[in-house]
Structures are given as C-alpha cells and as structure tokens.
C-alpha cells in the first residue's frame, strides 16, 4: 500500500459546499428507474456512463472543465438517510416493495469508480469529462446531481477565462455578481469558478461558507462604497465650512506610523482641495466640487486610511469626484498613508480613465508626490467580453475591472449542454443513435489522450477502447474523426497525456494488487487546492495554440478516435439503425 493510497484511505471527505446537495437533488425518474431496475433484477448490472458536452459555449472553440471537486464530495458522501428513504417511498407513484427500500438504505458509491479530467483543464466536445462506472441503478441516481454540478461550474469558469483572455494578463479582474446571480448558489458557485477561470477577487464573502465548514476557498475580497453612501451625506451648504462641518464629528487621524496625530483632517483636506483647484497645469478644469461627496470621502478615509478607494461618479467625475478624491488622498499622504484609487461606474470609461490618469500624473509631478500617478482606476457598469474588447481597442487607463451580471449569469449563453450517456453495460458497448449526427454517442468504456506537437501546443485529443495500447511518443498514430469517414490524420506525438484519471476508485475496488487497502490498489488522484486548480487553468490556456482560443473566428480543435474505435462505432451503428422504408 503506497503512501498516497494510505493517506486517502483514512480520510473522511467533507460533503458538497452547499448542504442542499444531497442524493435527493435528482430527478424523480432516477428513482422510478432504480425501482424498475431492482424489480427486473438488473440494478447491479455494471454500467459505464460518460459525461460530456457537444458544443463549446459563447461561440468559442474551448471550454474549461470545473465542478469535479463538488462531484467527488457528493459521491464520497452518497448515502440516503432514513428520512430520505421514507420521502422517496412517499414520492414514488403507486406503492413499492419494502425490499427496494432496504436496498435504498444500503446503497452508497463504494462500488462506483470515477475517472475524470483534472479540474481546470481546457476541454473539448465529445471527450468525456467524467466516466462513471458502477451498478446501473446507483450510477443513474448520480446523473442529475453530477450534471448540475458540472454544467454551470464549467460554463462560468469558461466565461471567466474568456473575460481574462480579452482583458489581458496585466489587469485585475473582480467578480461583482452576487446581487444579479441566479440565486444564492449561482453566486457562491460563480465566485469560486470565476477565480479558477482567472479572476483575482470577489467583492463578497464567498469564503465565509468555507470558514464555517473549516475549509477555505481563500479568494481575496475587495470592497469600496456605493452611490448611496455618497448620497447619504447631506450638507447644509450654508453651514459646511472649515469651522463647522455638520456631518463629521470625529476629525482627528493618527499618522500611519503612529508618531503624530492630525487633529483636523477635514481642514487638511480642504487646504489640499484649494491647492489643486488652482493648479495651473490642470488648466482650471476643476469646478466647485460637491461637498456631500467630499464629506462622504472624508468619512470613508477616516474609517479606512490604508484602503481609501472612492467611487467618483455620483455627481461629475472630472469636475467633482476626482478632485475630491485627490484632496483626500493628498491629505492621507501627508500622514504617511497611501490611497488605493478610484472607481468609475458610469460614463465613457476609456475617456474618463485617461483623464483621471492625466490628473494623477500631473499631481505627482507638480506637487512632488511619488507614486500618485499610479493610483488604481477601477471600472464597472455592465461590463462584458465585448465592452472589455472595445475598451482595449480604444485605449484606456483602467487597472481593474469589476464584472457582474454578464459574468455570473453567463448572459451570452446561460447554459452548457452537458449530457450523461450509457456507453457500456455488462461489458457490452451501447450507442445512442439520433437523426442528428452530432447527438450520436461514442460507445465503449474509453481512454482519452491529449497529443502534443513539437511546439509544445496540444494537437489533438484521441479516444481509444479501454484495452487498446496507449499512443507512444515518437510513434505515428492515425486519428480519425468519429463520424466523418474522410477526416483523418496521422500524428507523431512529442508528448502524450492521459486525460482521464481515477478520482474515486470505489472503496471495494476491483484490483487485488493491494488487498489490505480499502482502496485496493487504485491510487486516487488528490483533489487539488483551489489556487492550484486556478494555476492549472491559466497554464492550460497558455499551452493552447492561440488560434483555438481567440475571440474572432477561432479554429476548432480536433477531437478524434482511434482506427479501431472508429470501426467499432460504425459496426454498432449499422447494427442498431433500422433500415428505413419509403412509402
């Protein structure tokens, strides 16, 4: 028994992040079928199902696979409670036999094997993301929850990766979608999967749920303030002056190093404001700034002198928001603090960010404040792939984008169509035919490989029968389109990567290599930390040939089958398809 297997053997795995993900998060028909299988004495027949999708989302030619960890956590904890069994009993149409309920009480996934592609891997249509093998009735019960856990996870991760590709690697990307997400879990999942797809932070408490559960997502959090915060500061103009501001009661601020205290931070801000309002190099563009806004900024800075990030578009960005921000930031600078920057949430983001940047540079130069030009400019306001692309083409000075609705709801395409198809039962391959050739399933328990060329890019994915020899580095192999006779190519791979790895060997296993181990010899892949999944995803995208992942007219990546598998598919197809009769 090797160290890895031993380590896994004793580990009790946590359940899915959302406690509502239980064996009952499934379609009723999975249980009606389980009963029919059981009645027919077929429930323990060994079945192999593939989970895959047929078309890449968002008009692209790639997808990022995600959701695996949640699936494995569901499978590891798959056990019906007595309450659930009695609920199933009540829900089945008609009455069912007590023997079936006893069967339900006993089932778990100890006899199920799960092979999967690593989470965060770039994947393509038709190649199984997960291969589940086990008693047909049990594996069928897993169909719906596993589809639910993979479909949105992969969709939103792909969406995040696409936003990252168009924004470029140097920009910060924040996920802002909680308020518009499709329910609480749409939001919780989105935060996790956007992070995997290359986002830098979320603005809400995604990781709380993991703190509570003793396991951290560890996604960075970011926060600023809203328009309402600014609007809530009302100023009696007749009364708001250096002597008697009406809102700010506590005006003192200790310097960053603790060595001194500024007793009247408000006055300090006002002195900076007059200074920059008359700065000649700014050409007098600053007008009378809005004093409620200034009061709001001062209050926020007094609360967060080390993290002052101001929303500057409540009134007028250039004439009020930016000068008010600069005055507060300069006052903070006097006390040894460094302001973070501004956020724009409306208007022409390219123009406004460039103007703001010019002002920051001018202040750095004219007033000799080092680093002032590098203030972070954050932009939000219904951003999506298209607007990011348009901004990049126009030129802008935004450092950091906050993206919400379009990201987390996958507005451009709200669903990924993963399917779960029976490919083998009792060692007999099964094919699902359809008049639409793109819907024909690829039969057999399969192995899947990614073949790499000499440039380091991946060239093609190939599926083979389970017992076919593995493609070898330097050896020529014929890769065939699964359904199109004429599409085929020889490949001499420089590197071969097996895609499907064992993430759940089943506690009983079927190998006898290590009979004393509860895992019986099958080494289970570790579920990596979130950060590692994210790194893997980013690395994967770098390994792709750029034309496969570009936004406009991307080249389809090739997915193939071995010559043997091709022949077998077409043998089965002819056998199963009825000969039509024209009348």
């Amino acid at each position: 028994m090797d160290a890895k297997a031993s380590q896994n053997a004793g580990r009790v795995m946590d359940g899915p992040t959302n406690p509502m993900v239980t064996p009952l998060l499934t379609d009723l028909y999975q249980f009606t079928m389980a009963y029919a299988y059981w009645k027919a004495g077929k429930h323990n027949e060994r079945a192999v199902f593939d989970l895959y999708f047929r078309k890449n989302p968002f008009g692209g030619e790639f997808t990022v696979f995600a959701g695996l960890e949640e699936c494995i956590k569901l499978i590891a904890n798959f056990k019906l409670t007595e309450e659930e069994v009695s609920f199933i009993h009540k829900s089945l149409p008609g009455s069912c036999e007590e023997g079936f309920l006893n069967y339900l009480r006993e089932i778990d996934c100890s006899d199920v094997e799960v092979y999967a592609i690593s989470e965060g891997t770039v994947v393509f249509p038709k190649v199984p993301l997960l291969r589940l093998e086990g008693p047909v009735a049990v594996v069928q019960l897993l169909e719906t929850p596993v589809l639910n856990l993979v479909n949105f996870a992969s969709l939103v991760t792909t969406n995040a990766a696409r936003h990252r590709l168009v924004a470029g690697r140097s920009k910060m990307l924040f996920e802002f979608g909680l308020r518009r997400a499709q329910g609480p879990d749409g939001a919780i999942g989105a935060s996790k999967y956007c992070y995997i797809g290359g986002f830098d932070a979320t603005r809400w408490f995604a990781e709380y749920f993991n703190v509570a559960a003793g396991r951290l997502f560890g996604i960075p959090l970011r926060g600023t303030h809203s328009h309402a915060f600014v609007s809530s500061f009302m100023v009696d103009y007749s009364n708001f002056n250096l002597q008697s501001p009406d809102e700010i009661l506590e005006r003192s601020l200790c310097s960053s190093d603790g060595s001194s205290t500024c007793e009247d931070f408000v006055t300090l801000v006002h002195s900076w404001l007059s200074k920059i309002q008359w700065l000649k190099s700014l050409g007098g563009i600053f007008g009378e700034t809005n004093q409620s806004e200034l009061a709001a900024f001062i209050s926020y800075a007094l609360a967060f002198p080390n993290n002052f990030l101001a929303l500057v578009d409540t009134y007028d960005v250039i004439r009020s928001g930016v000068p008010n921000f600069c005055a507060v930031a300069l006052a903070l600078s006097d006390l040894g603090y460094r302001a973070v920057g501004i956020r724009l949430d409306s208007g022409d983001l390219a123009y406004l960010s460039s103007q703001a940047r010019k002002i920051f540079h001018t202040i750095e130069k004219e007033l000799g404040v080092p680093g002032f030009g590098k203030m972070i400019i954050t932009a939000s306001n219904d951003l999506n792939e298209e607007t990011l692309d348009a901004l990049r083409k126009q030129g802008h000075e935004v450092d950091c984008f906050g993206i919400g609705t379009y990201l987390v709801t996958c507005y451009a395409q709200a669903a990924l169509g993963c399917v779960f198809k029976l490919v083998e039962i009792n060692n007999q391959p099964r094919i699902k035919l359809s008049e639409d050739v793109s819907k024909v399933s690829i039969p057999c328990k399969k192995r899947c490989y990614r073949l790499y060329g000499k440039e380091g890019y991946s060239l093609v994915d190939i599926m083979t029968g389970e017992n076919e020899p593995c493609p070898k580095v330097g050896e020529r192999i014929l890769c065939r389109h699964p359904f199109s006779e004429s599409k085929r190519a020889y490949v001499v791979p420089k590197r071969v990567e097996e895609l499907l790895k064992c993430y759940w060997p089943g506690k009983s296993g079927r190998s006898s290599e290590y009979p004393s181990s509860p895992w019986k010899g099958k080494v289970r892949e570790e579920l990596p930390a979130l950060k590692d999944i994210r790194d893997h995803c980013i690395k994967q995208l770098v390994q792709m040939r750029p034309d496969h992942i570009r936004r406009l007219n991307p080249t389809p990546y090739k997915v193939s089958v071995s010559a043997n598998l091709y022949d077998f598919i077409h043998f089965l197809w002819l056998n199963e398809a009825p000969v039509g009769e024209l009348q």
Copy 2:
C-alpha cells in the same frame, strides 16, 4: 391588540430555504460602509431604500414579482453569529475598532420596516417592489442579499408565466431543468418559482428540502424513464421469444383489483403486439418493433402498472416506440390498469404527436378500449416560448410539455436588473441623477396604488408622497409620467388597490397604538402558502389587459406619479444637477 398581530407576535419564523443565505451573503463593501457610517456616527440615521427594476425582461411589458418570502425570512432571522463577526473583523481592510464589533453583535432587523407588493403580483418598471426603512447601516447590509433573492426569483417566475401564456391554460407544464440550472440553488429556486408562474409540476425532489425543514412546498412530482433505461435492456435476438426471454425474470402481474394474477405478462404483451401489428385500419405502418425497447417497457410497466409512461423515441417513434407502448398498455388494460401515456424527446413533435394520437384513437375504436384515445402525450427537447408558439400555430396533440434549460436558466435573458436606491435619509428626500434618464431614481418615501377601470382591467400604477391623500374611487386624479412633462392623463378609478403592504413592521415599530404588543400596532401581512401565491399570480394575469401581456408588440403599461411628486422630483433634480460648462 388584534388577533392577527397577536398571532404573528409569538411566531418564530424559519430562516431562508437555503441555509447558505445568511447576513454574510452580501458584498464586502456593505460592511466597509457600515464601519464608515459607524465611525462617522451616522449608522442609526433613518434611511428609506426602494428596490425596483427599470425594464421588463424577455422583450415583454410585464414582470411577476417573487422572492418576498425568502427576503422576509432572511430579515426575520438577521443576526450575526460570533463566528461571523470575527470573520468580518478579519475581512475588513485594516483594523477596525472593538466598538464596531460590539455594534455588529447587537444589530438585527427589529428597527427595520419592510413594505412590499404581494408575491406573485404583476409588476412594472420603476414601482418599488420592496421599500425598506431603518438604520442606514443595517438596511445597507440587506441590499445585496435582498437583490439576490428577488432578482432571479422574479425573472424565472416571469419566464414561467410567459411559457404558461403561450402554451394555453389547458396544457400541463412540467419543469425539467435541474440538470442544466445555474447550480443547485438555481434549480431549487426555479422549481418553486416556475410553480408560482403557472407550471404544474417538477420532475425532481424540490420539496424534499422542505420536508427536511418541516415545511412543504408541495409541488407535484412527475417521473418516467430515460433513453439509458431503454438502452440498458439488451436482447439476444436469437433467444428472445415467448418461451425464454433473457431479461425479464419475474413475469407475473396481479390485476388492479387484486382479484387475479396474470402469470405471464410478457406473453400477454406479445399477443397484443401481434394483434395491433396486423390491424388493417393502421395500414400496416408498424414494422418489426425493437425488442430491447419492448423489454424495457414491460419491466417499467411491471414496476409501475398504475403509472406507465414510456419514452418512445429511443429507436423509431411510429414504427417501434408507439406500437410497443400500445401493446404494453393494452396488456395492462386487460388487468384493469390504465397506462398514463408516452413521452417524445426528439423529432417533429407536431407530426409525431398527431400520428400517435391517430393510432391511439384507432385502437380505442377498433379494439373497443374506452379512453385509449386520450393517452397523455408528453413532449420535451429544448422547448422554449418560441417552439411552444410554433407548435401551437402548426397544430399538435401534445397534452403536456417538459421544459428545462430555456426555462430555468432564463436563456432568453439571464438576469433582471433590480436596483436598490436610497430615496430618503433623516426625512430628507434623495435623488440619484444620471445622464441616462431611465436611471434617475424617484425620490421620497412613497405610497403606490394600482388604479382599475370599468372593464376590471388595471389602467395605471401611481406613486405618491407618503402623506398625500389616497386616490379615491370615482374621483378624478392626474397621473403624470415621472420624467416626461407632456405625458399625463386624468383617471377616474373604479377601484383603487394599495400595492405596498407591511410585511415586516419591525419588532419595536414606531406606532404607539398597541404599546404592549411586540409589533406595536402595525398589522403584518401573512406570508401566504405557495399554492395561494400561484393562484394570485394566475388571477393577476387574467386581470391584465391582453395587449399588455401578449408576446408580439405588447403595449407598455403606464406607470405614473402624482402631480405633487412630479413637481418635487423636478425641483430636486434642478437643485442637484450641476450646471454644465461648455469649453
């Protein structure tokens, strides 16, 4: 203290359905703002926020409001745990004062008042769905979770209502979306809200979560079987005959009334199959049927003789699936059972359903089986509003539609843009201006009314200041467009309905009418049962003038403000908007 208030007073309300909906399901900035408010001594200033949307979804002119019950459950249980407080402490940028943490430990919604439109009501842009009033810091903390709970709920309820309108009232509609929904909760929410919007059932265990929590959604469940169930039955053709079928071990079936037992149900099915294969009036359209499919149907019928619903398109609907179904259904009929019907999941649903119906009618007539013509035909396969509409125009014989992806992910428009705007603080009205006039907020704590005309249809919604007199039946009132000077109309309402009702009076309240009651005199509206919300929604749609809710070019419904409120909006607007300077 009246009976209703007393009943509510002692009631401890359950928390939100999803246990992950806690006070931390919010944006970090709500807590950074709370700290800044607290530091500035402003946290207890009394603020009024409106939650509303700006544009109806799906190109329509109406929306159905949903999500209220979950909001009230959140608000009723809004209390930070010690663990949450320490997490907030760690998450705030920089350090915060201990006094703030003590403040966080104490806050709840006892000083918050929530007025809302009833769940399931047809609503329109700009009119507040919820009005939250309370200490500004607390109400800001509610912003994000309340938006999350209302946005998707209202969107998917509206989507369901639109599907119901196009399908017509006589059809059954099933929600099939669990596997493609945006996460587990996207599915759980969708089932509940599709039911409110007029769906009849879900095919999965939505209500389980409520059984567990001791409160039932009570949405009906439906189930059948999948293609994989059919494919899993393999037949050795050389061996499958009446004497030795290889799959079906237990062939006996007791009659419906328990009076007799058919020892060989398989043989009975085969005899019916030969009979209908040679039925002249069917013109010999039935070919050799697929025997694995037949074995699957027989097994399913033996398990569910009272609920036999067969998926008939695994091979060939008319040549195999329908005759196999009919043979099993006729055999069941011999034993006093009544089959439910068939499901079609591919192909030309209009044509196939019509053909299947003809066959059912022919069998009823020729073989004298009463009711056989009325077999339920269920259809699924990526259905949406458009395909339902196209089917209706072509003519079809489908009784029941299963709708999944397009329904639950709101594929046609994946987000509703509800916003949460400050309209008053310390009794001072606030307005949020924007260069885009559709984004200007309507200031003031308001009352909202729906005015009905003599036909019984609703004519217009009108918002007034809180202290303006209520519009009166039979009295002429001027309704003004909030932003467009020239758009105004006199209305003499036949009925006046106040839209915003008190769903959470705050435990301390502010009225002294019933000083001994914890609710202090404000009668809280009951949260109705799910079934009642659904009935309310259906009734609401009937009360709408048909041109407002039709699919093609619907007429916009009018939303107005009183003359007083109009004047006040424009007074504030001029006061707040900076006078531009052209350079």
